[in-house]
């Protein structure tokens, strides 16, 4: 629909390029093409990934040895806050929106996203938000130093950097909601005839559920930070006991957003992996139907477990028990997904190109993160581990190894379709192995630090934590610098290399592989015939 309007003239077919649109910078500013917008999302998220990564290296450098070496405690707090906000809202979420933009229309045989102009707007909201966040470092008082959770009353004490973070969150939320509306409408209305919901690629399913989670949870975060804003400047007392409010109220609201947010990040990652593993196992995905139900179940339960982030805040015993049981419940659909992936590989015909390696890395590390999550779900044990490095290790296994590794699996998997060239397999494998090894050196020892009692978010620590911290820091530097390899791989594939066929992976299924590589600027102006052989279910 939108694409035909864009091309504007009869006689243009799939192979025409963007023809009469503006060129140069204006092409990118005014584009309504889902592939252009997807590309911008991906580059933006990689840029933010480097900024957030540099901040994490400042944090790890300070933690190399006991004592204060490089930064002041205030600046350290600002770094850990911005690192988290930038990685969550600037890097991981936009990366998967980028994948959604590029791939969902091509997977369902649609010409573009349903609301192509809104799509442009939801991307171009991101740079101002990113500028607000990073520029807050340079205003008087610096950036917010509260951690990404922005708990009051500490966040009430902050300078104007806090207000900038609040507005950044508002803008990012608007962007996410628009993107979600777009994805839901596209997925529900624009599938090619014959592709029923239960024959739809799993990546589209994960994004459909994710988009609902975003629409339900982002307004809640926006509300929470707006209440902070009025507490800070307009004399309200939502979170101030002296005025009849309650600081813990903020935590309830924040985590009612914050827990679904975890799955907003994880579900699209599950989707990518559910494409890559079958492709390189040369088999159908095992248990497609149960995968769909598991995704829906995880999405639903994620709204009912928020206070497991708040076991030590003084919630009543009955509350602790309820949230413990509800949290344990999530292990069941998550387990189903892992078992399905494992069974998909069983008696397959496996090969180990870079996308498969990253998917396997995801599987191993995400499972570790999920299992330590089960330990943390037990309230009595969590009392010992809450706010220690065990939690830091746990969520980096879920976020970095879960979301980032799966994003890399998707990047290597679809890069031939995007650029028309095969990436350099040797460099890809090197990137995987360096990431896998250094990631574990950086984060596995943090489990031990947390068990021994090292709190998170401290710039300096007691001597008995020194050895593991040193290992962790060297690991993080190795991990950080290994990520620059991605740039090399992507630039090489953009410039040239072995020509990619329409379907470069012999086991890959899906409509996206029926169009040439690189994918023409406009695809599926007419709905393609749906071939059940391409279906995932």
């Amino acid at each position: 629909m939108q694409a035909s309007q864009h091309a504007g003239h009869a006689g243009h077919h799939e192979d025409d390029s963007h023809g009469h649109g503006p060129t140069g910078l204006m092409r990118w500013i005014t584009t309504t093409n889902h592939k252009d917008i997807g590309t911008m999302y991906l580059w933006f998220s990689f840029a933010m990934f480097l900024v957030g990564g540099a901040m994490s290296l400042i944090i790890r450098a300070e933690l190399l040895s006991p004592g204060l070496q490089y930064v002041s405690p205030e600046f350290y707090n600002q770094m850990l806050t911005l690192h988290a906000l930038i990685m969550v809202f600037g890097a991981i979420m936009p990366a998967f929106v980028g994948f959604a933009n590029w791939m969902i229309p091509m997977m369902i045989g649609a010409p573009d996203m349903a609301f192509a102009r809104m799509n442009n707007w939801s991307f171009w909201l991101l740079p101002p938000a990113a500028i607000l966040l990073t520029a807050s470092l340079f205003v008087p008082g610096g950036a917010a130093g509260t951690g990404w959770t922005l708990y009051p009353p500490l966040s009430i004490q902050m300078g104007m950097g806090m207000d900038m973070a609040i507005f950044a969150v508002h803008i990012l939320g608007m962007s996410s909601i628009m993107g979600s509306i777009n994805i839901i409408t596209t997925v529900l209305n624009m599938r090619t005839p014959g592709m029923t919901l239960m024959k739809m690629p799993l990546f589209c399913w994960t994004w459909l559920v994710t988009a609902f989670l975003l629409i339900a949870s982002m307004p809640i975060l926006a509300g929470a930070v707006t209440m902070l804003l009025t507490d800070r400047h307009f004399g309200t007392s939502f979170f101030n006991a002296a005025g009849g409010g309650d600081p813990v109220l903020f935590q309830h609201i924040f985590w009612f957003f914050g827990h679904p947010e975890v799955y907003i990040i994880a579900l699209p990652a599950f989707g990518v992996v559910s494409h890559v593993i079958p492709a390189f196992s040369r088999k159908h995905l095992f248990g497609y139907t149960s995968m769909v139900y598991a995704i829906a179940a995880i999405g639903l339960i994620s709204f009912f477990v928020w206070a497991h982030h708040m076991y030590v805040t003084g919630i009543p015993l009955t509350g602790q028990l309820y949230f413990m049981y509800a949290t344990m419940l999530i292990a069941i659909p998550t387990g189903v997904k892992v078992f399905n992936w494992v069974t998909t590989m069983w008696r397959g015909s496996l090969s180990f190109e870079t996308p498969m390696l990253f998917a396997l890395g995801f599987l191993v590390l995400f499972t570790i993160g999920g299992l330590t999550g089960l330990v943390l779900a037990m309230t009595a044990v969590d009392i010992q581990l809450q706010d220690t490095y065990y939690v830091v290790a746990h969520f980096h296994y879920v976020m970095v190894a879960g979301a980032l590794f799966s994003a890399y699996a998707g990047l290597y998997y679809w890069l031939p379709k995007w650029t028309g060239h095969m990436y350099h397999e040797g460099l890809g494998k090197l990137h995987f192995w360096l990431s896998m090894i250094f990631f574990n050196i950086a984060f596995f020892p943090q489990h031990f630090l947390g068990l021994a009692g090292m709190p998170r978010r401290i710039p300096d620590y007691a001597q008995q934590f020194a050895d593991f911290n040193m290992i962790s820091t060297w690991g993080s530097f190795g991990f950080g610098f290994s990520q620059l390899l991605v740039l090399v791989v992507v630039f090489k594939a953009m410039k040239g290399g072995v020509k990619a066929e329409a379907r470069p992976w012999d086991g890959a299924r899906g409509l996206e592989w029926t169009v040439p590589s690189p994918a023409p600027h406009h695809t599926f102006e007419d709905p393609p015939p749906f071939d059940p052989a391409e279906a995932h279910g």
């Binding site: 405690p73 130093g145 708990y151 006991a241 248990g287 008696r347 397959g348 396997l360 010992q384």
Partner: protein, 389 residues
Amino acid sequence: MARNLNKNHDVSRLRRRSAGLLMAGLLGMFAGVANAAWEISLQEPVTALARRVYDLHTLLTWVIGVIFVGVFAVVAYSLVFHRKSKGHKAADFHDNTTVEIAWTIVPTLILIAIAFPATTTLVQMRDTSQPDLTIKATGYQWKWGYEYVTGDAAGVKYMSVLSTPRDQIENKAPKGEHYLLEVDRPMVVPVGKKVRMLLTASDVIHTWSVPAFAVKADAVPGFLRDTWFRAEKEGTYRGQCSELCGKDHGFMPVVVEVVSAEKYAAWVADQKKAMAAVSDDPAKVWKLDELVARGEKVYTANCAACHQPAGQGLPPAFPALDGSKIVKGPKAAHIDMVVKGKPGTAMAAFGAQLSDTDIAAVVAYERNAWTNKLGELIQPAEVKALRGK
């Protein structure tokens, strides 16, 4: 951290070590390291409850370890034998209802099984009834205040501040054994008694935590929370603030000294005597130099972390006092700022923390230190009069 060795607990130590080894075995990197600095499990528990938590964690670690090994044994088999490079042809199956039901039900049963010990431990953890003594801990940016509410020491009240010298933190001096985990005045409790902790905070949320007791609870300003422990072994146990509370979050440790009943009685007697001796005569008229000397001590303990020893502050969050408009302005406004603080900033209200004499002393010090040579004297009686307003 407080790794009070008890060589008698060989059996439980062995069990604990085995849990740690399992963790290490997951990666195969650190197996066999047992040096104190390489601790790979929870701290040595010293309460019955902490031991239950320890054992629960060990159990869980085994459960997740076995699940992990089981799942990835299957994966490893596929990776080795179902390779394309070995000519393995892909089978064509994509559903199996029996298997799918089985792997939904079996995890459910495992979860129900571990829910039992998890529930009973938690119920016990929350039972704060019938304590032998009650202590209220108040979190301040960045120190803990302790007030004995019931028991022999009722009425004893003091601040507990990090005692690690600045030089060690700034790497100008070698770090001591308890670097960052030492305070000027620890909390003291008798061994074997049930201690109920009441928690609150004066400014932002802090968390009071002692891993050896399996105790961690938020101190929320404006609210009281409670938790409890019964320490079974004398010794010094150390923890840290566990909720980000601003600049010096990493520098407000919790130190608890568990002593015998006799030592505790002696300590209580000392405290009561000291309280009687220290209480100043509020009507005393002070001379400038003795007041400034006392004010410097108060300043170092309460103000220097933010406003800095030389009064230059850390602008803009923590303004300079040297040359400050408020310090060089009228006395009343200056005293008011110290007593009431500045809402919405890190400037706390010190009215409840400091006596009239201490407030008079610190205000006098600030007005006469650095370049603020006002030569002014403030008497405790003036503070008292202003407080009344």
